[in-house]
């Protein structure tokens, strides 16, 4: 699809366009975060704990007197970095192996499909939790675990696309022209499978962010005092019972906004990529 056509569709679909704009904004915040914030996200101020939102502290302060606005903004980078890294790994690995599996077929396809079936037998969050335990409690483990649990989606997508396109004229023509298997897969099959993959990536980025903050919420992966939305919500959980709502509301809204925009963008892109499946 050419850029101008994409722009045309985005202009027609305001919700998708708005989601795209907000996501660009969030990425900017992730990039510039630490330079934008008024306070050090780790600096405590013990004489000013649990202060409600004010002109000095827009989102209030937490139980250690840290500025919640600064923490929410700075956390964007970590959550987005984890999501982008994890989705990039799973998309690259899943598409490559999936396309090979669908194109080559045979025993390789049989084995890989069974492996993916077994992977899909585990509920996503439980699998993520167990994998983080295996790899050790760290940010890298969260990235690795998230990329492994998302691998099957890309594998299946690429496999179906490759298997379906193998018999189509232009691929046969490429084979007859003497292209190697690798060249057929990467130059002819994959570029044509891109639209559904892009949809999947957008949806997956939202899931990955949810997953990361969910793990942090139960005490896995990112560890305090690092600013991260899931950790902030977890730390504010008991304050919610005593009425200090700002400790949870702002990190929660940041989380919901990000996930919401990614899933809105994904749905919108799906309508553009495949008008028949319009929801």
């Amino acid at each position: 699809m050419t850029g101008s056509l994409l722009l045309y569709h985005l202009r027609r679909n305001t919700a998708t366009a708005l989601a795209a704009v907000i996501i660009v904004g969030l990425f900017l915040v992730a990039l510039l975060g630490p330079a934008l914030v008024p306070y050090d996200p780790l600096a405590t101020e013990m004489q000013n704990v649990l202060a409600p939102p004010s002109a000095a502290h827009w989102f209030g302060t937490d139980q250690l007197g840290r500025d919640i606005f600064s923490r929410v903004i700075v956390a964007t980078r970590l959550d987005f970095a984890i999501a982008v890294a994890a989705v990039a790994i799973s998309a690259l690995a899943g598409i490559t192996v999936g396309a090979m599996s669908g194109y080559v077929g045979g025993w390789f396809d049989g084995v890989m499909s069974r492996v993916v079936d077994v992977m899909m037998a585990f509920p996503l969050f439980v699998a993520a939790m167990a994998l983080v335990a295996v790899f050790g409690n760290s940010v890298q483990s969260v990235v690795l675990a998230t990329s492994i649990i998302n691998f099957p989606f890309y594998f299946r997508l690429a496999r179906i696309e490759a298997a379906a396109r193998r018999e189509i004229g232009y691929v046969e023509a490429a084979i007859i022209n003497g292209n190697s298997t690798g060249s057929v897969i990467f130059r002819f099959l994959l570029p044509n499978s891109l639209p559904p993959v892009i949809v999947q990536i957008s949806l997956n980025l939202g899931w990955a962010i949810l997953n990361t903050s969910g793990l942090a919420f139960i005490g896995l992966g990112v560890a305090p005092p690092t600013p991260e939305w899931g950790i902030m919500i977890q730390e504010g959980a008991s304050m919610m019972m005593s009425g200090e709502w700002w400790t949870v509301l702002f990190p929660g809204l940041a989380l919901v906004l990000s996930v919401f925009c990614f899933s809105l963008l994904g749905d919108g892109l799906r309508d553009i990529a495949d008008p028949r499946r319009r929801s």
């Binding site: 079936d117 037998a121 585990f122 969910g214 949870v248 929801s279």
Partner: protein, 342 residues
């Protein structure tokens, strides 16, 4: 049931076996891959010397080859022996048996809640397409898809516990000063009803509302989407047009002809939702200090107590596979056009 269907079901059962075997292999590898020497972790007493650790290693079968260890693992599973939890000091099976009813009870309430919200709105959104109710269904779906259950739960706690004081303290199944009924089924509501203590039944139900709602929120989006989509497909089909042409009353078309056909895709989603609620509700159980298998397992994980974690992953995955299988077979039994996967 016809012979052909029966054969298909047997074939489908057979196809599930390699997946179940794969699940067992993965959980076996999982416990081997976890950091730390289980024998040393197990022998964490001050009086333990190298010899004792070796003895424990032998007792745990860690001196044998990996293949032998796998066979031992298989036989242990067959005997429902999942090892002993280091934190509680009890067999893992017993720990699970004590906590599973709490998880199931909560999951059932959450499942019912998500159906009550998702299905009627989904049907109405399909019948009155592009009306306000269709827009409402879009809004609900979007919120449900982006809202983490633990955040939603905290919002509920703030509104209903702190601001309105309507909800009880969001901790556990009963308040601290309520005497729990003697455990028969493990379901708090049923156990209390058995001794005729309706006050406790009421309290147990009220205590479940907020955690169940937090758990239900994620399920509303897929269920509503499927219900709406299935209903639109059904209403657009030829047999509905034919029924309309024959002058069949509208409500009858809707309930007798369209709805059963629209339920098929919803059924598959229901299976996914229910098994997720039974296994992946860890964050909600932890938030509400709900004494179920999810919070038990995550506490074990944080406490480097791996036997319960292994058992939890295994049980949940097996449950997932069986639920998918059951839904698949049920769909085939309901709809003759449905092709069994595999």
């Amino acid at each position: 049931m016809k012979y052909r269907t029966l054969r298909l079901i047997l074939w489908r059962l057979l196809m599930a076996l390699p997946i179940l075997f794969g699940v067992i292999v993965v959980t076996f590898v999982l416990i081997r891959a976890l950091p730390g020497d289980p024998a040393i972790a197990y022998a964490s007493g001050p009086s333990m010397d190298q010899e004792d650790i070796e003895a424990i290693r032998r007792a745990m079968g860690l001196d044998k080859s990996v293949f032998q260890q796998f066979l031992i693992y298989l036989s242990n599973i067959a005997h429902l022996n999942f090892g002993t939890s280091m934190i509680t000091g009890q067999p893992v099976l017993q720990d699970f048996a004590e906590r599973l009813p709490a998880t199931i009870e909560l999951a059932i309430v959450a499942f019912a809640m998500s159906l009550i919200v998702a299905l009627p709105v989904g049907v109405l959104a399909a019948v009155y397409r592009d009306s306000w109710i269709d827009q409402l269904s879009r809004v609900i779906t979007s919120i449900s898809a982006a809202m983490p259950g633990f955040f939603f739960g905290l919002i509920l706690i703030f509104i209903f516990y702190f601001v309105l004081s309507l909800a009880p303290e969001p901790i556990g199944r009963l308040s601290g000063w309520t005497i729990a009924p003697p455990t028969v089924t493990g379901f708090m509501t049923i156990d209390a009803a058995l001794i005729g203590d309706w006050e406790v039944v009421r309290e147990a139900i009220v205590k479940m509302l907020m955690p169940a709602a937090s758990m239900a929120i994620f399920a509303v989006a897929p269920l509503m989407r499927m219900m709406r989509g299935g209903m639109i497909d059904a209403l657009d089909s030829d047999y509905i047009k034919a029924a309309r042409a024959y002058g069949v009353p509208g409500w009858k078309i809707l309930l007798q002809y369209a709805l059963p056909n629209a339920m098929l895709p919803v059924l598959a989603t229901m299976g996914m939702v229910l098994s997720t609620m039974l296994g992946a509700n860890i964050m909600i159980e932890k938030l509400f200090a709900w004494p179920g298998i999810g919070s038990y397992s995550v506490n074990a994980l944080i406490g480097v107590d791996y036997a319960p974690v292994q058992a939890f992953v295994l049980i949940v995955a097996v449950l997932f596979v069986l639920m998918t299988l059951a839904i698949d077979i049920l769909s085939a039994a309901i709809d003759p056009r449905y092709k069994l996967k595999g």
